[in-house]
Symmetry: C2
Subunit: 186 residues, 2 copies
Amino acid sequence: MMASRGWKKLSTDIVAETPLFTMKRERVVNPRNDHEFDAYVIDLSDWVNVIAITPEREMVFVRQYRHGISRDTLEIPGGVIDPGEDAVAAAVRELLEETGYSSERVQHIGTVDAQPAIQNNALHTYLVIDAEPTAELAQDHGEDLRVELHPLDSLDELVRTGEISHSMMLTAFHWLTLYFRKNGSI
Amino acid sequence: MMASRGWKKLSTDIVAETPLFTMKRERVVNPRNDHEFDAYVIDLSDWVNVIAITPEREMVFVRQYRHGISRDTLEIPGGVIDPGEDAVAAAVRELLEETGYSSERVQHIGTVDAQPAIQNNALHTYLVIDAEPTAELAQDHGEDLRVELHPLDSLDELVRTGEISHSMMLTAFHWLTLYFRKNGSI
């Protein structure tokens, strides 16, 4: 079902290289009409995001500046998987670095393609239960994070009001919804 | 709450221009530590996606090749808002062009930032009820689409099995979940 109907790649060249991603231009042929055109693809490492819930049923968020929209967002912690790193290790590390929280109870709840029209990377979502503060933040030079706790029960309202406005947060919350539908709420 | 803590942009230059997006490099200063570095931002038009449901409670999907991952995906219809076009008009147009379906019952159910870390565009989700086939497909030269109907009740299973694997489909389904929680299922 998932195979393509024979798209041909004629050539690939590099358009731009940055520390975080490489942009490629691919010359492709549409099998439906033999139309030839340029497709653009961004090479990125896989990403993780982490839904961390405290024993008091609060979720752990970070507020941070986002360069794409030039303003702050409220997000769950997450980031880029390092070369050779397991996704689960990256989830544990990003949670600890960005929020200072950790727990033994870490589980994978879903994986998607981040943006298959133009990117080739996956986004893995982890659920961390009984998260507690165990360390100071360890921010990168390029980060300016503030940790916030919000009740799990306020999550829908945070989304409806636009306080949370990042598409991939909703992706994670949908995995959480499916988890709760299958396992019952925590 | 949403204002930033004073990130400064020192300069902006264009790294790459394509028909679909412009990539910019911004020299920025972190207010926390005065660290200066390059942030990359992709300028994109806003996107719409459309959850279309037939009178028989089936959802209207398109299967298509995605260049980012070099294989086919199962997605709801959607695309780029044209210059000067209303989001709702784009939703109606994309649904009709990509699937041949339409309806009078079109409503906006949510908007997010598509990927605020590196992009500046929004993603608007529309719900179309009583969608029925009213036209032939009108595919772009670069598209090779096939229309599929799946029962609304099979949606969770399509996500769990990975048959639907695009993060922004889950974003749309989460808006649908919030809509159903507030208004009851349709």
